[in-house]
């Protein structure tokens, strides 16, 4: 049985966002790049490949410095965006500082406010939020037909999705509290025959906007038709366990994993290749029970099989190779585990 994203696209014709999630180092970035290349090349659609990896691995794959440079065209229809999240946070925070200075016409930010800002910058959640914010931003602009995201390992994001509804309810409560505070303030001012400032409404707008952001991020991520979550795993014990755990966690959030791509598979024909080394043959044999376990556990989820390459998959030529494997695997799934 052949597997490939081809079948996934047939099953879900409306998919336009594909998110590669899971631990780093398993080939997420390569897969994202390859899939983007495939869509731009084979399907002839505009596609954005998005990554946040601070190691600039997308730059690595495309062999160009893309990190923090914005949306860069790489080939026909193919655009790449590798954001520098740290820089983004810095700018974002500086923007907040500037706003405070402008609003209150002060040179120096009060100490307790500065303390707060510093403490938030240090939070790991900041990094993730900044990434999601950027993700949302590009999707909302809808300049592309497809979006391929190379997501950082999910930590805080899980919480954000899980709490989106709760957060939304909070925002309702908060809005109500604001409205009441405003009412009280207006009443107090009326009694003193004064006018109230209109700062309050701006704040509610901000709040409403935040709610929309959080909700649309959640909706984007859990939309089963428009979005597919793909996980990459390798035939290794740890990787299988991690994937299992991740799937469980996703389910608890109503998130369906759209598919699993098995990477670094040693093709079975090595065994019959007289030129192949003993080492490779041993690898094939040792992978067999692991692959069997993978098929047993995730059978219907498997959407891709990528063979082990003898060199790092870099450059467009290599990507094209990987992408055709992703589209439809050259290895037959059964042949891997069959006798």
């Amino acid at each position: 049985m052949k597997v490939g994203l081809k079948y996934l696209f047939e099953r879900k014709p409306n998919v336009k966002v594909i998110i590669f999630a899971g631990k780093g180092g398993l080939g997420k970035t390569t897969c994202s790049a390859a899939l983007s290349y495939l869509i731009s090349n084979k399907l002839n659609k505009r596609v954005l490949c998005f990554s946040t990896d601070p190691q600039a691995s997308l730059s690595d794959v495309f062999e160009r410095d893309l990190f923090g440079k914005g949306e860069i065209p790489i080939a026909n229809n193919l655009y790449v965006l590798e954001i520098d999240a740290d820089k983004r946070i810095k700018e974002y925070v500086e923007g907040i500082r500037q706003k405070i200075r402008d609003m209150y016409k002060i040179e120096e930010i009060p100490q307790e406010v500065e303390d707060y800002i510093e403490s938030t910058i240090a939070e790991p959640a900041m990094y993730e939020s900044a990434v999601y914010d950027a993700m949302l931003e590009v999707v909302t602009q809808s300049k592309y037909d497809y979006y391929i995201f190379d997501m950082p390992p999910f930590g805080h994001g899980i919480r954000m999705i899980a709490m989106a509804d709760l957060l939304s309810k909070w925002v309702d409560k908060i809005t109500e509290a604001r409205r009441q505070a405003y009412e009280y303030e207006a009443a107090a001012a009326a009694m003193k025959r004064q006018k109230v400032t209109e700062r309050e409404d701006l704040m509610l707008n901000e709040l409403e906007d935040i709610r929309n952001k959080i909700m649309s991020f959640r909706n984007l991520v859990v939309d089963p038709n428009g979005t597919a979550f793909l996980m990459v795993l390798t035939p290794e014990k740890m990787s299988i366990l991690d994937t299992e755990r991740a799937i469980k966690m996703f389910e608890s959030l109503d998130l369906r994993v759209g598919g699993i791509v098995i990477n670094q598979v040693y093709p079975p024909w090595i065994l019959s290749d007289p030129k192949a080394s003993e080492y490779l043959k041993k690898k094939v044999i040792s992978q067999k029970p692991l692959l069997k376990e993978i098929v047993d556990k995730f059978k219907d989820l498997i959407v891709g099989l990528i063979p082990m390459y003898n060199r790092e998959p870099k450059g467009l030529e290599m990507l094209s190779k990987v992408s055709s494997e992703l589209w439809e695997s050259s290895i037959d799934l059964e042949s891997l585990i069959g006798k």
Binding site: Q180, E183, Y184, A186, A187, A190, M191, R193
Partner: protein
Amino acid sequence: MIYSKYVDKKIWATDPNRPTPAKLYTDGVEYFPVSRYVLYGYQFKSVAALGPIVGPIVATAFYGWLPALIWLIVGNFFIGWVQDYSAMMMSVRNEGRSMGPIAYNLMGDRVRKILLVYIMIYLIIITAVFAWVIVDTLNRIVGTFIPVIFILFMGAIFGHLVFRLKVDILIATIIAIIVVFAGIILVATFPQIQVPPVNFLDPKLGTTTTWPGSLTVLFWLFLLAIIYYIAASTPMPRFLLPTIFVGFLPTIIALILVIIAALFTPLTGLSMAQAAVKNLWITDPSVFQSGPIWPILFVTIACGAISGWHSLISSGLSSKQLEYETDARPVGGGAMITEGIVGLSSVAAVAILAGSIGAATNYAQGAGKLTSALIGISSTGMTLFYSVFIVVMGLITSMLFVRVWRNVAAELFEKSIFGNKHVAIIVMLIVMIFLAFTGSWTNLWIYFGGTNQLLAGLALLLVAVYLASQKRPTAYVFIPGIFMAITTVAALVWETYVYANFLFANKPLGPQTNVAKVFGQTAVQISNGFSAVLGAVLAVLGVIMTTYLILGYFRYRREKAKSA
């Protein structure tokens, strides 16, 4: 005046240059400096309610106007303002903290907790007493109801006008004044709309007295309960706040008018019709009203002479907004003296009436007579005006009390069902209805006075403890504090004795005869039993607190002696 200057300079050594909490902790909400005039107005408004009006009437009825007059003047000058002022200064010197936290700091948690329980009982009793005063006035001064309704509706409309439609508050105030007085004038001019008639649900009971236990009383009480419930459970700006505002419009006019009229009595040719001195030493508990002049007089007139409530106001808000320490004297002391004058005007109002007195309605009649002599409007019209004034004052204060109760309950019983605002309010209103419906209000009044005065005594003693801890002279607060504490505990014991006496004799107190007739003697027994227990609890709490405070006082004194 000289005495107050002496206290101000020698004991507290106030200094306009010492920064007050208002300046140190400005937060624009609770802590911010406010002109002393504003604070004076605020303080006076917060301390002066029905208290300084009703107390003197009851006292005059019990003992004649002279003892009432003397106690008002002496009490106010030597104890009353001292308490208000000292509580304020104590708070100012304690970062603007209120009584509770100061008590906690000086005396520990137990004293603070007892203080809270005390305040809760206090709130119930005063609301019940005021409920009776309002009901009695509504029932007997026919025509009061409609202007009151005008005011309540105007309150709701006023809130809508100012807070929703953003009408300028001056314009809205003018509209409110017009509507409020239109209501009173309308009813005064057209006797046919003076409804409902006296005892309208119990025609058999005649038209001279309001009887506890009658259907009419129940009707009015339920009406009050509904109003209080709405006021305490809806957001403040909707109903409570604008109603208070509108209610104070006629109030302020009424107060000024009656004070001027009282001052002008020599010119208007009215003279005292009540006996200057009546029976001062009643020791027979079967005479359910009154009692020996000591201690009863001193709790009967609470507000006006001295009132514990004021210490809460002084230390709760004014102290946080005082601009200069030297303002404490005009604000705390000044407001108290003004209240004393209100009390005196009340004595004057009832003293000119002939015949038997002893109810707030007499105040309406007396004040009506006084002012009508001054400004020449018919006495019945002015009586109606003052009767509306009493009801509105009572309503306003009670609405606030119910709301305070709700907040205190929410704080104390956070976790349990009593912390729920609806439950808390309803429980309070049921107790209020029960007490007002079955009790004899003059006796309840003494309970109220007792709790109030004991609070005052405790506040004074607390100040004494504080001053002792600061190694300053204490006699000026310690002696009045001890006097008040002993007097009020004695009064509470006496009143408990009266109730217990009727309880064991299985007889109704005078006004309770109707309750006994309609609901049976058991209802009276329950009511009196409850009152007796309440009195005993209050007295015991009072003794405990006083003991704690005195012990604390001597502890700090010893430390002082040692370190000296």
